[in-house]
């Protein structure tokens, strides 16, 4: 299946909204949605059942088509954007809502052990975990930082798995150097606050 051009996407949207041809959207994007759901479960180390793909996939289409295709009508293709990416966004949000409710330990008992994938633990990550423990003592001071500083510290130290500077640069549309500078200033500021308050 080839990627649609901007004009083809506009025509697809027009036919779906104005001529009620919802099956065009289903035909074009169902496999994409299913693939994303599966990969995101795998990436987060959560066992994926066939029912999950079906349930979440249907939830995605509910969001796209509900209220007379309200979300589709609000979608505005601008330069550099694509409908496929917008659908990836909705799918990712739906997966996040779903996985937040899953009891992973209970689910793992349902899956044969040979199908479970263990996440490797690298030495670099172990070192970050040590730093993370120290920083936990001063997490209360995070609100004194700017939003970009807080975000980068969260991604680098606190989220599971922690992200590399390169990952964070890609995620936040910055250069690696810019991310490093923000992280460096943030940690320095936290340490100052830590010191001022007698720790």
């Amino acid at each position: 299946m080839k990627k649609l051009t901007v004009e083809e996407e506009k025509l697809l949207l027009k036919n779906c909204i104005e001529n009620d041809e919802k099956e065009l959207i289903v035909r074009q994007y169902k496999r994409l949605i299913d693939s994303i759901i599966y990969k995101q479960f795998k990436r987060n180390g959560i066992p994926c059942l066939q029912d999950d793909i079906e349930d979440i996939g249907n939830d995605v289409f509910v969001k796209i088509f509900e209220k007379n295709c309200k979300r589709l009508r609000l979608y505005k293709p601008e330069k550099g954007r694509s409908l496929a990416n917008w659908i990836i966004m909705i799918t990712s949000q739906t997966v996040a809502d779903f996985t937040h409710k899953i009891d992973i330990a209970k689910r793992e008992k349902q899956i044969p052990i040979e199908e479970l994938i263990e996440n490797p633990c690298e030495q670099a990550q172990e070192k970050k975990l040590e730093s993370r423990e120290s920083l936990r003592l001063i997490t209360g001071y995070l609100k004194c930082l700017s939003p970009d500083q807080r975000l980068i510290l969260q991604l680098y130290f606190f989220d599971d798995p922690p992200k590399s500077l390169e990952d964070i640069a890609k995620l936040t549309n910055r250069t690696k150097q810019a991310v490093y500078n923000i992280k460096h200033r943030a940690v320095k500021r936290l340490k100052q606050l830590f010191t001022i308050n007698g720790y």
Binding site: M1, V26, I36, N58, F61, E78, M89, D148, R150
Partner: protein, 218 residues
């Protein structure tokens, strides 16, 4: 207090890198306090990088039917297309070279209001059928039909049109388009074959006000 989670359009703009400074600040302020949205950011970003659309097949008819039935949307068996006036615009992207087809009465800048046209696409198996029809001044119409697979002209294709009042047209599709001239209004059974095997059929009723396409006929 955590702000409401990021709205999809804004979040998509952030992930794609199409945002203003103000939008970046708004999104990052929320991301810094919401673990769920950070998870979404990471997953969406990697999905956009990893997914190769060219490797994914379109959903099968059974899969589409299952989704549509889940919502209680029956797959429409009948579609109605109104004859349109004016110059061809968005639709020409479906038909590369549409405006240069021989015999076409409409050009994009002419007094195109005179001759009404209709253009639609239809899937039959793995083939994409594009049909463009134009009324003539003699109360007839001309049709141009193109058959392709993944944007490439399909080979060994035969078009069969059976008029309900009698008359059969059966032609191999040789060039980029098959051109049928001075067709009478009325009902036709429209069949596409490839390598002598039927790929699909439908019923098309060409009326003066509209064209009705039905997926199946008896």
């Amino acid at each position: 207090m955590k702000s409401k989670c990021i709205e999809t359009n804004l979040f998509a703009k952030y992930v794609e890198g199409c945002f203003s400074d103000r939008e970046r600040e708004q999104v990052e302020a929320h991301l810094s306090v919401c673990s769920r949205c950070r998870q979404v950011l990471v997953n969406a970003h990697y999905s956009m990088d990893e997914i190769k659309l060219s490797e994914l097949e379109p959903a099968s008819e059974n899969e589409i039917q299952a989704v549509m039935e889940h919502f209680g949307f029956s797959k429409k068996l009948e579609k109605i297309y109104k004859w349109m006036q004016g110059s061809l615009s968005l639709e020409t992207h479906l038909f590369p070279g549409l405006l240069t087809m021989p015999g076409l009465t409409r050009k994009s800048s002419e007094s195109a209001a005179e001759y009404a046209y209709i253009l639609f696409e239809k899937k039959m198996g793995d083939l994409d059928i594009h049909l463009y029809a134009e009324k003539t001044q003699y109360h007839t119409f001309n049709i141009w039909i193109s058959v392709s697979k993944q944007s490439i002209k399909a080979h060994n294709v035969r078009l069969v049109l059976i008029q309900e009042q009698g008359g059969i047209i059966s032609r191999p599709l040789v060039g980029q388009y098959e051109h049928l001239k001075n067709m009478s209004f009325g009902s036709y059974n429209f069949i596409i074959k490839q390598n002598a095997e039927e790929k699909g059929r439908c019923h098309i009723n060409f009326k003066n006000e509209e064209v009705i396409v039905k997926d199946d006929y008896s």
